[in-house]
Structure formats: C-alpha cells, structure tokens
C-alpha cells in the first residue's frame, strides 16, 4: 500500500518528516506518529464529502456536457435529453464551419475575447503593479488609499457594472457629458453600449473591476521580500528606482506567473461584466465568448451546439494553460539554478 506513494515527489514533500522539515534536535526526540494513523481510512473519510460534491457539481456535469455536444439537443428534448438524437460531430462541424453564419460568429467572438482579454489583463496587471509598489513604503494616507483601491474588488459586480452602464448612457451619462458637453471632443454624443465603441466600454469596466485583485495579490507578494535585501542594496548605494528594478520586480516574478494565469482565465471566461453591461445579447464588437455561448444555448435554444462550443472553449483553455505552465516552470528552473 505504501509502495505507490514513495515515488511521488509531491507526496514526499508534504509528508517527508525529518527529511525536509528536520529543523532541530528537539523535534527529532518526539516519537514518530504511528503509521496506522497516517495510513488509515481517515483521509478518505475527510475527503468523502468534498469528493461526492465534486462528482455532483463538476465531474458528472462535465461528462453530460460532453455527451450533449454529440446530440441534437433542442428545446423539445430539454425535459428528456436522453432521447435527443445522436448526431456525432455535427455540432462541432457547425461550430467550426467558419464560412457559415454560426461558425463565423463564433470565430469573431473568439477574436473579440482575445483582444478584450489582452488589454484587460494587461492594464489590470500594470495598474496593480504600480499601486502595490508605490504603496509598499508607509506614508501619510497610505491606509486610506489602500482601502480605496480595494473598493472595486469588494463592490458586488452587478452594482458596479450597472453604475458604469449608467455612466455610458448616451443621453444622460457622465461619459458623454464630459466628452461632448464639457470638453467638446466629440461632435455628437456617442453610443457606448451599442456599436463599435462597446469594446472600449467593456475593457474600461473590466479593468476597473479587475485591477484591485492584481493589487491585492502583488501586495501579498511584496510581503515575502526580505527587508534585508533592500537594506543591503541601499548600503551599496542603490537608489529607490534601482531597488524597484533590481529587487522588487524580479522578486514578484513567481507571484506574477500565478497572477497572470488566473487573470487570463477569469477574464477570458467573464460573463458577469458583459451581461450586466449589455444584457442577454452583446453588441457585435464586444461579443465575448461566454455571452455568445449563453446566447446560443439559452436564447436560441440550441443546446447541442452550445455544448460543443463549451467543449471547444475548454480545450482551448487547457492547451493555453498547459503551454503557459510548461513555459513558466521551465523559466523558473532556469532562474533558480
């Protein structure tokens, strides 16, 4: 029973008592925990509720989702989806037939989502980094600023986004009032929630909502940098800009690797922001993939094609994440050695 676990490096690390964690003579004198406690059924008992729920909310739905993507699942079969006809890969060929309307719309929506994610994650990361580094040292008002910066993170998504929707109203919104009435930059009051400008509105709202999370993670990351590094650097005559460039930014790299991946996944999958901003169907220029799939499934009642699109999206995210993890872990090894 123990034979399988010893080869696993991760398991070794977490239970390797005395080897990796041997911190002092005092600890060694404690008797070892009897193996029956470690090896008994207790861990399984502790995991049982979580495993059952994971099955119910993740594993089974995913299997059903994949099965549904091979069936012609329309609204007639909702109450008895087992009876929906099996059509093999037809849903997939509909989804990726980029010359036909459905496939073309999906491809467009994919590109829109990529552009949206790139700018949204980029600015969120940039703002978060700037704020975390500039707030690293204490000065008067630091606590207040820190609280202010966390407000978008704490505000419920719909309350925040609905306020932005109000600000982007054509006739009574703040944005047009400033741009048109006060600054005179635009000739006409522009539309922000329909048409080509929608993507800008969406990115702005998404950055506003998302950057405090980057700020929070990076603030936590900054606390792990040993003060002694800065003290040594300043004794050697390094100014504050040099300290930021040579100590702070490189030290944040492990945090950034996790942060960028998490931001990417959340932004790419974001449904809440476009849904509250635009409603059930987004304008073409801001037609994010999650809204697009929602629309295909719950508005036009084509669940089979919707499922196929979900599976394709999942495959894409898996590939991107795997490549990213491979690249960053290789980079990290190189940096450590």
């Amino acid at each position: 029973m123990t034979a399988t676990v010893t080869t696993n490096p991760e398991v070794d690390k977490s239970t390797g008592k005395g080897t990796s964690r041997g911190t002092g003579g005092a600890r060694r004198r404690l008797p070892r925990i009897p193996d029956r406690i470690r090896q008994g059924g207790l861990p399984y008992l502790l995991l049982l509720p979580a495993v059952l729920l994971e099955l119910l909310i993740h594993i089974i739905p995913m299997v059903i989702g994949i099965v549904m993507s091979f069936r012609q699942l329309t609204q007639f079969f909702i109450s008895n989806w087992g009876a929906a006809p099996w059509i093999g890969f037809d849903n997939y060929s509909i989804a990726v037939d980029f010359d036909a309307p459905i496939g073309e719309a999906l491809l467009h929506s994919f590109f829109v989502t990529c552009v949206f994610t790139f700018f949204s994650v980029g600015f969120a990361w940039l703002f978060g980094t700037a704020a975390a580094i500039l707030l690293q040292e204490s000065f008067r008002g630091r606590g207040i600023l820190r609280a202010i910066f966390l407000v978008p993170y704490a505000l419920p998504v719909y309350a925040a986004v609905i306020t932005w929707a109000f600000m982007f109203q054509r006739d009574n919104g703040l944005v047009n009032h400033v741009l048109h009435d006060q600054l005179g930059i635009t000739d006409e009051p522009s539309f922000w929630l329909i048409g080509d400008n929608s993507i800008y509105a969406l990115i702005i709202v998404s950055v506003w909502k998302g950057w405090p999370f980057a700020f929070l993670m990076l603030m936590a990351g900054l606390q792990n940098i040993p003060r002694e590094l800065y003290e040594a650097a300043s004794i050697d005559g390094a100014g504050i800009w040099q300290q930021i460039r040579r100590i702070t930014l490189p030290s944040l790299r492990p945090v950034n690797q996790v942060l960028v991946l998490v931001l990417f996944l959340w932004t790419f999958n974001d449904f809440n922001t476009p849904y509250v901003l635009f409603g059930k169907s987004a304008p073409e220029s801001a037609d994010l993939i999650s809204i697009h799939i929602y629309q295909s499934s719950f508005v036009t009642w084509n669940f089979g094609t919707g499922s196929a699109m979900s599976v394709l999206l999942l495959l894409f995210l898996l590939v991107v994440t795997a490549v990213y993890l491979f690249l960053t872990s290789r980079g990290r090894k190189g940096a450590d050695v």
Binding site: N80, I240, V258, F271, S297, L313
Partner: protein, 297 residues
C-alpha cells in the same frame, strides 16, 4: 545584523533606506496614485450623487453637482422591486454556499496537507483544474440535471435556493480547497503532531490546533466565497424564479419598458454594496495574510 535593524524597523517602518526617496519617485507616486484613486472613485461618486437626485434629473443631462437633493429614492427602492426579499435570498444563498464550501474545504485540505494516501494527486489536480473551467460549461449540464431530477423525483432543484447554492459550490469549493491546502502547509506540522502525541485524536487536533492557527486563511477564503457568491450573475439569472431571485438579477427590475429609474438603481446598488464593502474593508488584512501564505508562495 537583523537583531541590530529590528528595533529601528518597528520604531519607524518608513526608514527603509538611509537615503530619502528622490523627488522623481515622490512625484510619480503622487500622480499615479491620484489618477488611480480618481478612476476608482468616479463610479462611486456617480452612484452616491445620482441616488440623491429626483427622477427627472437623472433622466436629463448628467450633473456633477445635483441641483436638487432628495432621499426619496431610498424609500422608493423597496416598493418598485421586492428588494428586501432579494436581499434575504442573496444572504441565504451566499451564506450557505460559504459555510458549506469552507467547512468541506477545511476537512479535505487537512487530509491533503497532513496525510499521504492513494489518489491524493488525482484529487488535487482535479480540484485545481476545475477552477479554470468557465461557468458556462457547467451551467447547461447542471440545468439539465436539475430539470431531470425535478421531473423524475419531484424534488424541485431548478429554481430553488438549494439548487443555486449547489451551483455556487462549483467556484467556491475548489478555490477554498486550493487556498486552504496552501495555508495548512504553511502551519508547522510540529504543532498538530505534538497534539497527536499528547493523545488527541486527529479530528480534535484539527479543530483545537490547526483551525485556530489557520484563522486568517479561513477568514480570507470565507470572504472570497461570500463576495463571489453575492456578486454572481450567470447561475442566478438561469437558476432562479420569482420567489428565489437574488439581488444580482433583481436589480434589473428597476428598468421598466418606459423608463429606467436610474436614481433608484443607484440607491439600491449603494444599499446592497455598503454592508459588503464595509465588511470587506474590515477583514482585508486577513485577506492579504491569507493570500500571502495560501496562494502567493
């Protein structure tokens, strides 16, 4: 060296370096932080000021300074839309999802962090990977499962609060498990091993030693779960009906066919935001502490 610097550091943490920060840094800090604060506070100002305007003022051109102040919207919001009911629904759903996911996460994170057993790696990898899946992927199958369970057994999961709570576990449970494994790993094993040697059972060791030591992590996870559930829109818009509607969907009720009661929308947004923002700002120190040990390593 560290014993020499420690007293000065606690006395004045500002003295990081013997050299004062140059003007270029101070000005960058002032300008960037002011711009960011302005960006963050702009919608907050719009929300507060518009919630105090009469309807004709929010329907016309935007005014930076309200010409008429009224608190009438704060009374009307409860009439236009059954806001109190939505509030209670949100509280029940977000609260239950939080309690459920954090409790289960404590047990499983303890098992993963302290024991070795067959299938551990499968479990952690599964939990980790489900975090990246889009909610839309689970929405449709869960919807179908709920509808079918309802049809075959008569248990109405679709439209019920219980069903919505279950769907909220799709995002709060994996995140809680992931964070708490990291946090429990950062608590010295000697602590609970000493308790075990003293004759505590493993479950008592968990509750008397590990859980108290992990309070910041547990608070961080709870805050995160609650806030995400409180703001969730996707599942709430599909899985609820008139009786179980949560705030995230209910707020759309202020838009009628003829008019959007923007002043009431803003007042209601403020009312549902204030408790959660206040609670979050009180607990934010725990969040950074929890992130530092749990996620950022």
């Amino acid at each position: 060296m560290s014993s020499l610097t420690r007293p000065t550091r606690t006395a004045r943490s500002r003295d990081r370096s013997p050299m004062a920060a140059p003007q270029s840094f101070l000005w960058t800090r002032r300008i960037v932080l002011t711009l960011l604060a302005g960006f963050v506070l702009l919608p907050v100002y719009v929300m507060v000021s518009s919630s105090l305007k009469p309807l004709q003022d929010v329907s016309g051109k935007f005014q930076w300074i309200p010409s008429t102040l009224t608190i009438q919207p704060y009374f009307d919001i409860w009439e236009t839309v059954p806001l109190a009911k939505y509030f209670v629904n949100s509280l029940i759903v977000a609260g239950s999802a939080t309690v459920l996911s954090v409790t289960l996460a404590v047990f499983s994170a303890y098992a993963v962090s302290r024991y070795r057993f067959r299938g551990k790696r499968v479990f952690t990898v599964t939990v980790l990977s489900t975090q990246m899946f889009p909610g839309i992927l689970f929405l449709l199958p869960l919807f179908l499962i709920f509808v079918n369970i309802g049809n075959s057994t008569g248990v109405a999961l679709y439209g019920s609060r219980g069903g919505l709570i279950l769907t909220y576990l799709t995002f709060s449970l994996p995140f809680s498990i992931w964070m708490l494994i990291g946090y429990f790993d950062s608590i010295p094993r000697d602590l609970d091993e000493a308790a075990l040697v003293d004759g505590c059972g493993p479950v008592r060791a968990l509750f008397q030693v590990v859980v108290p030591a992990a309070v910041p992590g547990i608070v961080a996870v709870s805050v995160y779960s609650f806030m995400t559930a409180w703001g969730e829109v996707l599942f709430a818009s599909v899985m609820t009906n008139d009786a179980t509607r949560t705030l995230s969907v209910g707020l759309q009720g202020y838009a009628t066919q003829n008019d959007v009661y923007w002043n009431q929308v803003m007042a209601a947004s403020l009312v549902v935001s204030v408790p959660i923002v206040a609670g979050f700002l009180l607990l934010q120190r725990y969040l950074v502490a929890g992130l530092t040990a749990g996620a950022v390593k």
